[in-house]
């Protein structure tokens, strides 16, 4: 078998993932911290103030990476949900459900920072502009997935049902997005694009990208930590989990 495929197969086994994730978590947190430090330095000190919005635009450096992560976490959840439903891989169920609260938190931060930015820019804490409204619907979708997951007694059945809901959400998300855009086309045009020529100055762009790296690293670190705990709970009766316990506790039976 192809070594990459083999590695994925190995990764799918809970004990291997448990130790693999355990080794990576400190590195991921470390990279996230360093990247965040660099990014915030660039965002707060080297990037010039916006000629229209002044210093208030700097909240974009939190707002935009979090908005990206809100969507990224949802896609990550949906892809893992799909794998969990089709191939019934336990690790994918765990990863999908572990990413839901993190994505919801990022989406929530996006809404709060968007609202903070709205006060000096639009003069009000909340406007029903297209992107904020889409983010709000996204947050509700997250709440639906999390609510369904916690409402079902059987952990694995709950994960499959919630993963299914996440998939329906993915089909629906573009429709929501376009309906909201049609409904309200007031928002300023997109200013940042990773693919096409960017409309913002390089000195303003690099902190943004650095912070995007930081949020991604934080996402995976947090995801791994959550998934490790969830796997321990799910596999509590298994041999490999017992082996992790201190020897004094296992010698009773």
């Amino acid at each position: 078998m192809n070594p990459l495929v083999l590695w994925f197969h190995k990764l799918g086994s809970p004990p291997y993932f448990y130790s693999f994730a355990g080794r990576w978590i400190p590195w991921l947190y470390g990279i996230a911290l360093v990247a965040a430090a660099f990014g915030f330095y660039g965002a707060l000190f080297t990037a010039p103030a916006d000629y229209q919005q002044g210093d208030s635009f700097r909240i974009m450096y939190v707002h935009v990476p979090c908005a990206w992560m809100g969507l990224f976490a949802y896609l990550f959840m949906a892809v893992n949900g799909f794998i969990a439903l089709v191939w019934r891989i336990k690790l994918s169920e765990t990863l999908a459900m572990a990413s839901a609260p993190i994505g919801a938190a990022f989406t929530f931060i996006t809404l709060v920072t968007g609202s903070l930015w709205g006060k000096p820019t639009w003069g009000t804490w909340w406007t029903w502009d297209a992107r904020l409204t889409s983010e709000l619907v996204l947050l509700f979708l997250y709440f639906g997935v999390i609510g369904l997951y916690h409402a079902i007694e059987d952990r694995r059945q709950a994960a499959r049902a919630a993963a299914f809901l996440a998939l329906i959400g993915v089909v629906n998300l573009p429709i929501v997005h376009y309906s909201v855009i049609w409904w309200n086309t007031l928002h300023q045009g997109q200013t940042v694009s990773l693919i096409g020529p960017s409309k913002i100055a390089p000195s303003m762009l690099w902190p943004l990208l650095t912070l995007a790296i930081a949020t991604h690293m934080y996402f995976f670190a947090s995801l791994f930590a959550r998934a490790r705990v969830a796997l321990l709970e799910l596999e509590s009766g298994k041999e490999w989990v017992r082996a992790l316990l201190p020897v004094t506790e296992t010698s009773h039976d």
Partner: protein, 227 residues
């Protein structure tokens, strides 16, 4: 031996569910009363000024109809689960998605269609301009089946739960946002004298997609819930 065909199975299911609604026809009136009461609350809260009411009429009627349907959605599979009929449906040799499609159709026919029929009354209560009424009727006719279809998938996911009412609302409402936006938006556009066909066509396209996908998705969701 004479095995039952799929079409006779669908007819039998449609007949049985219609008969059940007829035997409990008192319950079937509840969504209508709910929608009328909700709509009647708005003038009481906002005052009887014709211009204010006419401005919010279409949106209010839409929200009232969606909420009324949502309340009745919870019961879509509940009695079938409780008396074992749902097991019989799943075990039956016919495609489950088709049978669920029949049940969704009955839900639409017995809750949404009466709501659409009384929509002119609701429109009158809120002083909706008469030229907007046809747009409202068309928009409701396109948006209500969407709620039945998407709602059925969510009900299938929550079918085993004892108290699923609030959760069901949480699952369905975000998914149904576009139906509300396009439906009520088309009415508002018509009221302001703008073109309103684009949002209606969007609704129609989404409806066609949902008619194909939603029964299959509901069948898959039901399998997950019953496992």
């Amino acid at each position: 031996m004479k095995p039952g065909t799929t079409s006779s199975a669908c007819i039998a299911l449609l007949r049985r569910d219609l008969l059940l609604v007829w035997r409990r026809r008192g319950d079937a009136l509840n969504p209508l009363l709910f929608a009328i009461i909700v709509v009647a609350l708005f003038p009481l809260a906002l005052g009887p000024e014709t211009t204010v009411l006419a401005r919010i009429a279409a949106g209010t009627i839409f929200v009232a109809v969606l909420l009324a349907m949502l309340l009745s959605l919870d019961a879509l599979f509940r009695s079938d689960l409780e008396d074992g009929s749902l097991e019989q449906l799943v075990v039956s040799p016919h495609p489950l998605a088709l049978l669920i499609g029949c049940k969704i159709f009955i839900h639409w026919l017995t809750t949404a269609l009466p709501l659409i029929v009384i929509a002119p009354l609701l429109a009158q209560l809120l002083q909706l301009p008469s030229q907007v009424l046809p747009v409202l009727m068309i928009a409701l006719a396109l948006a209500t089946p969407l709620l039945s279809l998407i709602g059925a998938v969510c009900v299938a996911l929550t079918v085993g739960m004892r108290r699923s009412g609030m959760l069901l609302t949480l699952l369905v409402l975000p998914l149904i946002v576009p139906a509300l936006i396009f439906g009520a938006g088309a009415c508002n556009a018509a009221q302001d004298g703008f073109a309103y066909s684009a949002p209606l066509l969007w609704l129609a396209a989404w409806l066609v997609l949902s008619i194909i996908i939603a029964p299959l998705a509901a069948a898959a969701a039901l399998k997950i819930s019953l496992s």
